[in-house]
Amino acid sequence: MDNMLHDIFIQEAEENLEILENLIITLEETPDDSDTINEAFRAIHSLKGGAGLAGFSSIKDFAHIVEDLFENIRNGSLSITEDLISVILNAMDILKLMIANIKEGLDADEGVETEGTEKEIRAILGSMNENPGSREEEKKEDKKGKRLFYLSLEYGKDLFLTGIDPLMFLSDLASRGTILAAEAFFEDVPEPDEFDPESMYLQWKIFYETEMNEKELTDIFCFVIDESNLAFTDLTALKEKGESMDRYTVRNMGADELEFRKAPAEASAVDESGTAGSADRRKGDRRTGEISDEDVPMDRRQGDRRKTDRRKVGTVDSYIRVPTDKLEKIFNTVSELLISQARLNMLTEEHEDILPDSFSTVTDSLKNITQILQEQVTSLRMMNLGSTFDRFKRVVRDMASERGKKIRLNLSGQDTELDKNMIEKLNDPLKHLVRNCIDHGIETTEERLKLGKSEEGHLELAAYLESGKVVIEVSDDGRGINRQKLLDKAEERGIISKDTRLNDGEILNLIFHPGLSTAEAITDLSGRGVGMDVVKSSINELHGNVDIISGEGTGTTFKLYLPLTLAILDGMLISIGAEKYIIPTLSILEIFRPEAVHLKSVSGGEELIFFRGNYIPMIRLHRIFNISEAILEPSEAEVIVINSGGIKAAILVDNVLEQYQIVLKSLQKNFRKVEHISSATILGDGDVALIVDIQSLVKTKQQAK
């Protein structure tokens, strides 16, 4: 349980910290927004509470003083300044470290320097002339020995309306001491026509013997003490001194007589007089006055409650947390199911003549169900980009202030959904692109003003769906990519030769070349040599593409095209000779049968094909994969025009067979890396089809150039 609780707490804490961080950034812009303040308070409050429950006292204590800060912000005694925000952000970082520690199984405060920030916070709190952090511990006076009390219990009229049963108190008293005598008073009970069954009319007088002190006794009644008129008189001293206790009576019996009676018998002295004053509890409650454990249950609701079916109530909440590897397993199983189902369909078609008609009805419905199942399982893995995007608020803020730049971040399309696995893998590439925009794209404030641009640079993260793909844009309104500089550098580093002719898309794509960085000064974050090429390869690993649009002086946009999920790949099944391949639909621009006039050979044996006003290179797939018996004449075959990161090429294939949805099992597991092949799938007929790695194809083509 502890582990489970820890895991839940860690997850919750991380979410809360993320929420908090964003709220704090929002607060910096709109310091007076009470909704934001309340929400932030609630987040740190839950974090504190959770830490307490999960047993992380150092986190709880630290979160506590942060909560005090927010409490004071909330009640207006502390106003938000830039310094305060910085202190809070520091505190957030500390909490993050602590959470990271416990995630690693370490002590929360291991190696975490909390003292400085804690002092700062205490100083802030202290300057408001009170220290809500410290609380007084009440010392219990520990007097042993039995005490005799005379209790007079007059409850408020509305007692029932707060769900309290006065018998509860009697039962409590009985369990912690001995009720020597008790009497219920009916004096306040009105005539039947004035009787309100929802009001409390009874009072009690009780002789009570207990080891509790007055404070502990009061605690039993703490929930009602304000609305009730309760008196606890400690008769112990009187009794010890032998003084008269005659004025304290219960059932006309003075306290003096108590000694002569036996306590247990007296406990039942309440008998019928203890019956409650509310009508709905009369029934079946005749003996409520008898204070014994089994008679006290509050079955008062049975009177007015319909006899409901008391079947077991599910304990499941509307959400359950499931470890992702469990989902992964379900997903793999579903993909096996899909393959089996496809094979079954093929077999059914093949043997149609010998199978009864009803057979195909069953296989058809199986097909539908499997498809629905697959869609549903896929949707389980979808998450929106909200938290991914939100994280950048802090990143951008920190980076901008470090670089002395003013940057406004705009986010849109946070509710766009993507496979959870992909979202995780997108963090780094996105971070890199954002850093790149801040470091190299957006100019310093002085530069911007000189150029007549707005003082504040703009950075935008946008996500949207476009014809079945998710597009994520990272754009800035900075200086844009300097093509000449890029070309010079590429030449200088021997990446291209002097006479290489490149079109604009190809030039911009040089930015993704390993080791090419055009920044004049290398900063600590971007420009470390590894960078843009890693961005590109990680996007490619996600079966996605990157496009660059850049206007010199007006800014750069990186467009990431991604499939909705990694688990399913939309592809075109093609054939070359006897082989079958799949080309991912994401990269396909167009499929057509070329005419001889559209083809052109250039020196070096390269073949070009005319496509939308331009010549693009043609790749003979049969040559790449060494397939004999392929159709050699393009005008008798088909070409698939693909786009990989702005570079277009036409792939020559024999036939385009059909559109195919491939359910990919764990990617690149059980799979040896083969050149130009990204993965493999089993087709319905049991054949294996290889999935063509378009990016690597285009890359080789580029290098060959």
């Binding site: 349980m1 489970m4 609780l5 839940i8 707490f9 997850q11 919750e12 804490a13 929400e39 308070f41 609630r42 409050h45 839950s46 504190k48 509470g49 959770g50 307490g52 429950l53 999960a54 709880k60 909560e67 005090d68 409490e71 809500p132 609380r135 029932f160 309306l161 707060t162 769900g163 309290i164 049963d165 509860m168 039962s171 409590d172 929802e198 703490c222 929930f223 304000d226 609305e227 006290v296 249950p297 509050m298 079955d299 008062r300 609701r301 409650r305 409901t308 079916d309 008391r310 079947r311 077991k312 109530v313 599910g314 304990t315 909440d317 509307s318 959400y319 947390r321």
Partner: protein, 122 residues
């Protein structure tokens, strides 16, 4: 078996409430905020004690207490709310809204069981 209907937006709190109370022999039904709780209460055949967190999104615990008190079935059902030591004023607010009592948060499991048992009449 007595049923406790607990509402808390914090998953950690929900998990620990569920763990603590079910170990003590209670049936626990959970909801994560006031709005969801109000949806779920009518379809829950038996509720012996309510346990609400005060600070919750969508609908706070105090409002939830008022709403539950409006439901005929639960006019007299005990409602406890979870509050922190620092929220002294909340206790009064909760009482005024119709709560039966409160439990200090973070709670001591034994204390929670004790208080719930009292109200559940166990």
């Amino acid at each position: 078996m007595k049923t406790i209907f607990a509402v808390d937006d914090s998953p950690t709190a929900r998990a620990s409430i569920e763990y603590t109370l079910s170990k003590a022999g209670f049936q626990v039904v959970l909801a994560e905020d006031g709005v969801k709780a109000l949806e779920k209460i009518p379809s829950t055949p038996q509720i012996d004690v309510f346990l609400f967190d005060v600070n919750m999104p969508n609908m706070d615990g105090i409002t939830l207490i008022k709403e539950v008190r409006k439901l005929g079935d639960h006019k007299f059902t005990p409602i406890l709310f979870l509050t922190t030591e620092s929220q002294e004023s909340k206790k009064m607010e909760g009482k005024a809204a119709g709560a039966s009592g409160w439990v200090v948060k973070p709670f001591d499991p034994e204390q929670l069981i004790a208080v719930i048992s009292r109200f559940a009449g166990e």
